[in-house]
Symmetry: C2
Subunit: 194 residues, 2 copies
Amino acid sequence: MSLPHAILTALLEKPSSGLELTRRFDMSIGYFWSATHQQIYRELGKLEHEGYIRALPSAQPTRGQKKEYEVLPAGRAELARWTAESQDPKPIRDPLLLRLRAAGVVGAEGIDAELRRHLDLHQRQLSEYLEIEKRDFPPDRDTVEDRLRHAVLRAGIDLETFWTRWLSRTLAELEPPTAAAADASTPAEGNGPK
Amino acid sequence: MSLPHAILTALLEKPSSGLELTRRFDMSIGYFWSATHQQIYRELGKLEHEGYIRALPSAQPTRGQKKEYEVLPAGRAELARWTAESQDPKPIRDPLLLRLRAAGVVGAEGIDAELRRHLDLHQRQLSEYLEIEKRDFPPDRDTVEDRLRHAVLRAGIDLETFWTRWLSRTLAELEPPTAAAADASTPAEGNGPK
DNA sequence: TAATGCATGTAACGAGTTACATGATTTG
DNA sequence: CAAATCATGTAACTCGTTACATGCATTA
């Protein structure tokens, strides 16, 4: 039950329409809680029905028309309640790790290509986060809100760093000990190439 | 679509009944792909229906009776196909990060207790993984399968290490700048975000 | 006015979660 | 034999995903 609270947070930061929320989810909040526009519309409907948000009076009630929402006091209270709630961390759930385990049983043929591809993707994500950090968190400003947002971003940075390191190491270890790498541990023998 | 493949992997490692699978999911595979017994029974039914697994002939077809499954050639082929498939990593999806972001808007009252609680949980998980590593991966044995399984475990270890570090650091930074630390950057800033 | 893009929405499905139901086996 | 435990299974619900439908506004 996190999506409604993600939306409340986003709406408190700035009242928006469904599509605007979708776009903002693609950028900031979506980096750690993504959502499609269908999810968002569905949830906006629920939140409005429950009296947590309301459409701004200026918005027309017709179909293709833009409709802006703002958070009502009850919505803010609900968000505060949820924020103070305690909830256990969920265990990891990663298909790539599952794949590796499966590869141990049916053969690891070609798995290194997939690992390299992931390594590349995580490196890109990492540099994107580092860009954001450079742009949005200059060392001077320092409110509590800033620190919280920075901490969240740093979680992203550290996670991507973990993946790139783990993938690099795993690739190196799965690499068949051919050529150069093998020479160090195995002194060159007189025999020519196989 | 990962659960069926998790089950196929587990069954290839050792033919089992539904409850046995559930228990093994609570231990090894479940560390990175958990599942309840209801999910597992449902999926076993599907897999049998599709001809990927079969109940061992010794098993009776009555209700409360144990029923052991084994993987058929088609199941092994399907698992091999899936293993070689490529699939993008999913973005992070973590309620705690969302909470921190929300705390920036509605107030961070009491969030540090939750962070400390998570820190403790992650530290426990980390030492559990380290125990497993010590027990199951002595430095001598070294097949490809061993290396794969060890790599998966190391992902768990590194992830928990990341969390403990990030939580420690975040806690330290949110700590009210009491006494010594506060003097340098005294923000005369009031409160109200807007 | 026809096509394009913007904005909101419906429908159907798959996966995960929670609660509960039922049959078999052990054991007190 | 009653109760506890093992083992399999149904049902109902929520959340996320994919595909598609509808209405409005702009402009070529």
